[in-house]
């Protein structure tokens, strides 16, 4: 287990302890009912997370990262931005894969607006995160609505990057 994972676990359980203490101060009933509520959520979510974790591994194995890098190639302009957005949503794996592909694309000559669009689209739509985390935890209507409302923004980010000429 790495140091950053340890820090995450400490902050996470620390927050649980602090909020648990606050609930306990409101009285035992509040503490018991919130723990029961949280545990019920947990039990409901475990099978969905199981499908997400195990399932997305197979989906990721079918989409090799090289394919994504190919899409991101050195083509530029708005077509490149569109490709970058699709590539961002289709990128399998965690943050290491997403950011590394962005770094490779920069090295092989991809334009920065395109790479910005890629990173933003990956943050907003990466299918593995949506399947694994967002859909199990949030009401499905919210997830689709959120994704639809986010659609314009990778393009906006690319446009801002083009206008200001940075990074």
């Amino acid at each position: 287990m790495t140091l950053s994972a340890l820090i995450i676990d400490i902050t996470l359980w620390g927050s649980v302890a602090v909020l648990g203490f606050m609930a306990w101060q409101r009285g035992r009933v509040v503490l018991v009912s919130s723990v029961r509520e949280g545990s019920m959520d947990f039990i409901n979510i475990v099978p969905r997370i199981a499908l997400g974790v195990i399932g997305s591994g197979y989906i990721a194995a079918v989409i090799p990262p090289e394919v994504i890098t190919g899409w991101l190639g050195p083509d530029s302009g708005w077509f490149g931005v569109l490709t970058a957005v699709i590539a961002g949503a289709a990128t399998p794996g965690g943050p290491v894969v997403g950011f590394s592909i962005g770094a490779v694309a920069l090295k092989v000559g991809g334009g920065t607006p395109q790479v910005i669009a890629y990173v933003v689209a990956w943050a907003l739509f990466a299918f593995q995160r949506m399947i694994l985390w967002e859909i199990p935890f949030m009401p499905a209507r919210f997830v689709w609505f959120r994704a639809a409302m986010s659609l314009p923004f990778p393009f906006l980010a690319a446009a801002i990057a083009m206008v200001i000429g940075k990074p």
């Binding site: 950053s4 927050s15 195990i54 770094a103 920069l106 959120r146 409302m149 986010s150």
Partner: protein
């Protein structure tokens, strides 16, 4: 979930054809490991969501983050998403809890989008070392307005899709 299950079955079949049963089992054991590793964090996230749902007063949340909270509600959602510690195992249960205690879709969208785009955890741990400081900082600066805009767009569309409020209570 049925769609996802079918997609998974198809992909597992493709892996089996390409790599044989060994490939299928290798991914399965790796993912079972990962599953065991994140389970405690998921539990912590669910407990956080449970506590937040009980502790935060409903009327205050709906005033601060509800449909009539205006720009201020979107800004609070954005700030909250940006400072929230932990990974997806905290962000989504907490967002779901906010929805149940009276935050509207707009403010919750602002929170989720802010967490994915300007949350410091991922940027510091992965983006800075891999993509470099200059790229990361500009990427974040460019992303700053997006949570508020996405939340405002969400609110704008939501009241036109459901003028009488939500068609059914949230799950």
């Amino acid at each position: 979930m049925i769609v996802i299950g079918a997609l998974v079955a198809v992909c597992a079949g493709l892996v089996w054809r390409r790599d044989g049963i060994d490939g299928v089992l290798r991914i399965l054991t790796h993912d079972l490991w990962l599953f065991g590793e994140i389970m405690p964090r998921v539990l912590a996230g669910c407990l956080l969501g449970g506590f937040i749902a009980e502790i935060l007063p409903h009327d205050k949340v709906s005033r601060a983050l509800g449909p009539n909270s205006g720009l201020k509600g979107l800004l609070i959602g954005t700030a909250f998403g940006a400072i929230l510690p932990g990974g997806p195992f905290t962000a989504y249960p907490v967002a779901a809890a906010l929805l149940t205690v009276g935050a509207d879709f707009g403010a919750t969208i602002a929170m989720v989008v802010s967490w994915t785009l300007i949350g410091y955890g991922r940027a510091v741990a992965w983006e800075l070392p891999i993509l470099g400081t200059e790229f990361t900082l500009w990427r974040i600066v460019i992303s700053l307005p997006i949570p508020v805009l996405a939340g405002a767009l969400g609110r704008f569309v939501f009241v036109r899709m459901y003028p009488k409020g939500e068609p059914e209570p949230p799950a």
